[in-house]
C-alpha cells in the first residue's frame, strides 16, 4: 500500500487530509473525533480575541437537486477564550501525538501581539502555525484577515514579525479576494513564510429571499457578504494553487484549500502543486467519516499506478499549466459523435446551432429513417461545447486531427513576424 504521509515545509503528517480552520475544528472534542475518523491533521479554528457571533450565519447553495453545491458563512474566528483553546489543543496533541495540529492565528497589526500569541501556542507543542490573512467578513472590517491579505506589504511585515519568534513552520493563508494572488504569495515568501495555504473564502451573497426580500442569510432584517466555499469554488482555488506553484518567485510549498470533496479533487490539487489539502465544506456536509473514502480512494489510485508515495505526485502536472501565448495554435480537435452510445437528445445540435459554429446536422438515415447526428468536421472548431452539454459519458469524443504543420504558439508567431519571417497557421 502506498505511503500517504506527507512533509509540508517540515511539517509531518500521516496523510494529506487536514481539516481546515473552520467550524469543524472549533474544539478538542471535534478535532479528536476527526483524528479518530482518520484525518491526518487539523488547523484549529483561528485563535484571537474572543468573538461575539450572530445568528444565523451559514447559507447553502443547492443546484439541480444537489444540496450544498456552494456554501457561505458569516461566522467569525473562535468564540472561546484563548486559555480554553490552548488547554484543549494541548489535550488533543497529547492524545494524538502523531497527528498534525496547526494553530491558525489572527491578531491585530502589532508586533508584540503576534509575538505573544506565537509563543503561547508553540508552548503547547503545535506542529506549525497558519496566519489567517484570508477571512473576508467581520474581522476584515477591523483591519485583520483579508484586509491584511489584500496588501502584500502588510503580509510581508507580519510574517517577518512572526518569524522573529516562531520555532515551527509558518504557513500563510491567503485570500482569493484579490486581483492576482501571486503578489500576496510572493510577499509571504519574501517575509520568510515556510508555506502558503489557499484559498480562503470568496466574497459572496448567497441569495435573496423571494418572499421576504432579504439577503440569505440575514440577521434581523439585514445581511452582509459572507465567505463562499464548497465544490463550486474548486476551479478558482485550483487555478490559484497552480499559478503560485508555477511561479518561481513564490517558491514555497502550498497547502491546497477550496471545494475539495473527495480523493479525486485531492489528486488534482496535488498534481497542480499542493502538498496536502485542507477540507471543510465536505466535512460539514457529510461528517468526518468522508475521509474514509478519501484515504481509500487515494491509496487505490496510487497502488493501481504503482506509485509508492503520495509525495511522488506532488506538482507533477504543474509544468503543463502555462499561459495562453504558449499554446500550440496548430493543434486541432473535432467532435465525433458515437452513434452507438448517443441517446438522441439533440442537446449538442442546439448548443452548436444557437451558440457555437453550426456544424452538427440532424440527418435522416437513408435505410432506417431514424435521425442521426453528424458533425461536419471541416466546420468544427473543436470548442468542446457539444461534449460538455452531452449527458452521456463518452457519446461525444473530441478527436485529434493530425496536423502536417509544426507546433506554433502565439508567442512564437509574434516573434517570427517581428524577425521579419513568415509563419504558417
Amino acid at each position: 500500500m502506498a505511503d500517504l504521509s506527507i512533509n509540508l515545509a517540515g511539517i509531518q503528517s500521516p496523510n494529506p487530509f487536514w481539516l481546515a480552520s473552520a467550524p469543524p475544528t472549533n474544539s478538542g472534542y471535534q478535532v479528536q473525533r476527526a483524528f479518530e475518523a482518520g484525518w491526518g491533521g487539523a488547523v484549529w479554528k483561528t485563535l484571537g480575541e474572543p468573538i461575539i457571533n450572530v445568528t444565523s450565519r451559514f447559507a447553502g447553495l443547492n443546484f439541480g437537486g444537489q444540496r450544498v453545491f456552494g456554501f457561505n458563512n458569516i461566522e467569525l474566528i473562535t468564540d472561546k477564550p484563548l486559555e480554553v483553546n490552548l488547554k484543549e489543543m494541548d489535550e488533543t496533541k497529547r492524545r494524538f501525538p502523531k497527528h498534525t495540529l496547526i494553530a491558525s492565528l489572527m491578531v491585530e497589526h502589532k508586533r508584540e501581539a503576534w509575538h505573544e500569541i506565537v509563543k503561547k501556542v508553540e508552548a503547547i507543542g503545535v506542529d506549525g502555525l497558519e496566519l489567517n490573512f484570508g477571512c473576508p467578513h467581520g474581522m476584515a472590517e477591523r483591519g485583520m484577515g483579508s484586509a491584511v491579505g489584500q496588501h502584500p506589504d502588510l503580509i510581508r511585515q507580519q510574517v517577518e514579525w512572526v518569524k522573529e519568534v516562531a520555532q515551527t513552520p509558518v504557513i500563510v493563508k491567503l485570500t482569493p479576494n484579490i486581483t492576482d494572488i501571486r503578489f500576496t504569495a510572493r510577499a509571504a515568501s519574501l517575509g520568510g513564510a515556510d508555506a502558503i495555504s489557499m484559498i480562503n473564502t470568496i466574497n459572496s451573497l448567497m441569495g435573496v429571499d423571494l418572499d421576504k426580500w432579504l439577503p440569505i442569510p440575514h440577521v434581523d432584517g439585514k445581511g452582509a457578504h459572507g465567505g463562499y466555499c464548497g465544490p463550486a469554488v474548486k476551479p478558482i482555488a485550483l487555478n490559484m494553487v497552480a499559478e503560485c506553484a508555477r511561479d518561481p518567485k513564490v517558491g514555497i510549498p502550498i497547502s491546497g484549500i477550496g471545494g475539495i470533496s473527495d480523493w479525486r479533487d485531492t489528486v488534482e490539487f496535488l498534481l497542480m502543486g499542493a502538498t496536502g489539502v485542507q477540507v471543510c465544506t465536505a466535512a460539514m456536509h457529510h461528517g468526518f467519516r468522508i475521509v474514509e473514502d478519501m484515504i481509500d480512494g487515494l491509496t487505490n489510485y496510487l497502488d493501481q499506478r504503482g506509485i509508492a508515495s503520495v509525495m511522488d505526485i506532488v506538482g507533477k502536472a504543474v509544468h503543463t499549466y502555462s499561459d495562453w501565448g504558449y499554446l500550440n495554435l496548430n493543434y486541432k480537435v473535432v467532435a465525433r459523435i458515437h452513434e452507438e452510445t448517443c441517446i438522441n437528445c439533440n442537446k449538442c445540435h442546439i448548443a452548436c446551432e444557437d451558440t457555437s459554429h453550426q456544424c452538427i446536422d440532424i440527418v435522416p438515415d437513408a435505410v432506417t429513417g431514424k435521425e442521426r447526428l453528424v458533425v461536419r468536421e471541416e466546420d468544427c472548431v473543436g470548442c468542446n461545447l457539444c461534449s460538455i452539454v452531452c449527458p452521456v459519458e463518452g457519446a461525444i469524443e473530441m478527436v485529434e486531427i493530425p496536423s502536417d504543420k509544426a507546433p506554433l504558439s502565439w508567442n512564437q508567431r509574434q516573434a517570427a513576424l517581428a524577425a521579419g519571417g513568415s509563419c504558417e497557421l
Binding site: 480523493w263 467519516r289 468522508i290 474514509e292 473514502d293 480512494g297
Partner: protein, 448 residues
C-alpha cells in the same frame, strides 16, 4: 438454432445490470445517511452508504472491497437478497422519494471487481492453527474467508463437484449465474484455503479424523433433498425433486423434455417458485403451483410471487396431492383433494384440513416436489451433536455446538419456523462463527 440453445436464452440473467450512467446517477442520489438504517437492515452489516459513496467517487475497487469485507458472498447476495425486505426496505428515501437501488449498486461494484480481476484481500500470517469446514456453501465460504485472513490453515470439505453450495447449484441461473458464485469461491481459494470437493464426511473422511487433525471444526452442511410426499405413485418417472431440477439446469445441457408439457409444483416456498419458473423456461406449456394453504400463508417472497405470475405460472390454493396416476410407468395425472383452513397450529398458522369427498384428478406430465428439505441427520449424529429435528443447537453468539471443538453455521442451525433461510444470513453466521472460533483458539494460545 437447436431447441436447447433456444432454451438457453431463457436462462440468461433476467434483471439487467445498471448501465454505467445509471449507476452514477443512482449513487449520487444516496443521501449518505449517518448511522443508516440500511446498514442495520443488512444481516452482514455492509457499510452501504460508504460503498455507494465510493461508486460516486469512482473508487470501485474500494466499493467492492467494502461490500466483500462485510459479506464474502456479496456478489451473489447482490442478486438474491430480498432487498425490499432488507436494505432497500429500510432506505429513508422510501418516505420521500424512491429507495436507492442498493442491490443493483452492489452488483455494479462487485461486477466491476469480477471483470477487472481485482484481488480484494490477502491471507493473514500463518498462526499454526488448523480449521476444518464441512460444506462449501455461503456459510462455509464466509467462515473460510475470515479464518484465512486471520492466519488459519483452512480446509473445506465439499461433497459436490464444485464449491458454492446453494449459490452454485440451487439458485436458478436467470437470477444467479454460476460464474458469480464460482468467482466468490476463487476469492476464498486465493487466500490459500484448500477446498476438497467430491469429499463426503462420514464416507470419504470420518468425523473422528477431523476431530483428531483440526483445532476446530465448523459444520456448514446446509440441507439435502426434498422429503417424500408419502403418497402412492411417488416413485414414478416424472416425479422430480425441485432442488435436483434446478441443479440440472445449472450443471447439464438443457433438456427439451418439458417442451409443451403440463407441470405441477407441490409447495409454495422460494424453491417452488424457482422450480416453476425453471419449468416454464424449459418450455412447459402449463405450470401450476399447488399449495394446501392460501396466498396469505405461502412462504415465498412477494417479488418471487410476482415474478412467477409474470412468467405465466398459475397458482392453485387449498389443494393437496393424494395420489400420482400412472401410464406405462410414467406420471399421467395427479389426484388432489380440496382443503380448508382449520384451527391454528402451534406456530399460529391455520392448519389445512382435507374436505372429505372432494377428490378430483388433473392431467399432468411432471410432478415437482418442493415441500422443504431434509436435514443431514446422520452427520450430526456422527459428531454426537445435540439437535432438535436436525437443527443443531448452538450457544448464543458463539455458534458453538454441544461438542467443544465443533461449531455450526448456516442451514444446519436455521429453524424456528423459518421455512427459507437467506444466503445473507448464512454468510453472516459463517463470518461470526469464524470470529468465535478465532476468539476461542486465540484464547488458548494466550499466555496465562
Amino acid at each position: 438454432m437447436s431447441i436447447p440453445n433456444e432454451l438457453a436464452k431463457n436462462f440468461s440473467e433476467v434483471v439487467p445490470a445498471l448501465k454505467p450512467m445509471e449507476a452514477i446517477h443512482e449513487a449520487n442520489r444516496c443521501l449518505y445517511c449517518y448511522d443508516a438504517p440500511c446498514i442495520k437492515a443488512c444481516p452482514t452489516s455492509i457499510d452501504i452508504p460508504s460503498f455507494i459513496k465510493k461508486i460516486a467517487t469512482g473508487n470501485l475497487f474500494g466499493s467492492a472491497r467494502t461490500i466483500m469485507e462485510s459479506n464474502p458472498v456479496g456478489a451473489s447476495c447482490a442478486r438474491v437478497c430480498p432487498t425490499e425486505e432488507l436494505c432497500e426496505g429500510a432506505c429513508v428515501l422510501n418516505s420521500a422519494s424512491k429507495p436507492i437501488m442498493i442491490g443493483l449498486l452492489q452488483r455494479h461494484a462487485t461486477d466491476w471487481a469480477i471483470q477487472n480481476q481485482a484481488t480484494l484481500f490477502s491471507k493473514g500470517e500463518a498462526n499454526g492453527k488448523r480449521v476444518a469446514i464441512v460444506g462449501a456453501g455461503p456459510a462455509g465460504l464466509s467462515a473460510a474467508r475470515e479464518l484465512a485472513r486471520l492466519g488459519y490453515a483452512v480446509t473445506v470439505f465439499e461433497a459436490k463437484e464444485k464449491a458454492g453450495g446453494l449459490n452454485t447449484y440451487g439458485i436458478v441461473s436467470f437470477r444467479l449465474p454460476q460464474e458469480i458464485s464460482l468467482w466468490e469461491v476463487e476469492q476464498v481459494e486465493a487466500l490459500g484455503v484448500e477446498i476438497r470437493t467430491h469429499t463426503r464426511i462420514g464416507e470419504d473422511v470420518s468425523p473422528d479424523e477431523l476431530l483428531d487433525q483440526y483445532d476446530s471444526i465448523l459444520l456448514a452442511v446446509g440441507m439435502g433433498n426434498v422429503p417424500q410426499l408419502n403418497i402412492p405413485g411417488e416413485e414414478l418417472e416424472g416425479v422430480l425433486d425441485a432442488i435436483a431440477l434446478v441443479e440440472e439446469t445449472k450443471t447439464k445441457p438443457l433438456s427439451d423434455e418439458m417442451l409443451g408439457k403440463k407441470v405441477v409444483i407441490i409447495g409454495a416456498g422460494n424453491t417452488a417458485i424457482d422450480a416453476a419458473t425453471c419449468s416454464k423456461r424449459l418450455g412447459a406449456d402449463n405450470v401450476q403451483i399447488l399449495y394446501r394453504r392460501t396466498v396469505q400463508e405461502m412462504s415465498c417472497y412477494q417479488f418471487e410471487y410476482e415474478f412467477a405470475k409474470q412468467d405465466g405460472v398459475e397458482f392453485r390454493w387449498l389443494v393437496a396431492p393424494t395420489r400420482v396416476l400412472e401410464e406405462n410407468g410414467r406420471v399421467k395425472g395427479l389426484e388432489l383433494v380440496r382443503m380448508e383452513l382449520g384451527e391454528p397450529d402451534e406456530k399460529g398458522r391455520k392448519r389445512p384440513v382435507a374436505i372429505p369427498g372432494s377428490h378430483f384428478v388433473i392431467e399432468v406430465d411432471y410432478v415437482v416436489k418442493a415441500i422443504g428439505q431434509n436435514r443431514h441427520l446422520s452427520l450430526l449424529e456422527a459428531f454426537g451433536l445435540q439437535h432438535r429435528n436436525g437443527i443443531v443447537e448452538v450457544e448464543e453468539g458463539t455458534y458453538r455446538t454441544s461438542h467443544v471443538k465443533v461449531y455450526a453455521a448456516g442451514d444446519v442451525i436455521f429453524g424456528g419456523g423459518k421455512t427459507d433461510a437467506m444466503v445473507v444470513d448464512a454468510a453472516n453466521h459463517g463470518k461470526r462463527a469464524a470470529h468465535a472460533i478465532h476468539q476461542s483458539l486465540n484464547d488458548q494460545i494466550q499466555p496465562v
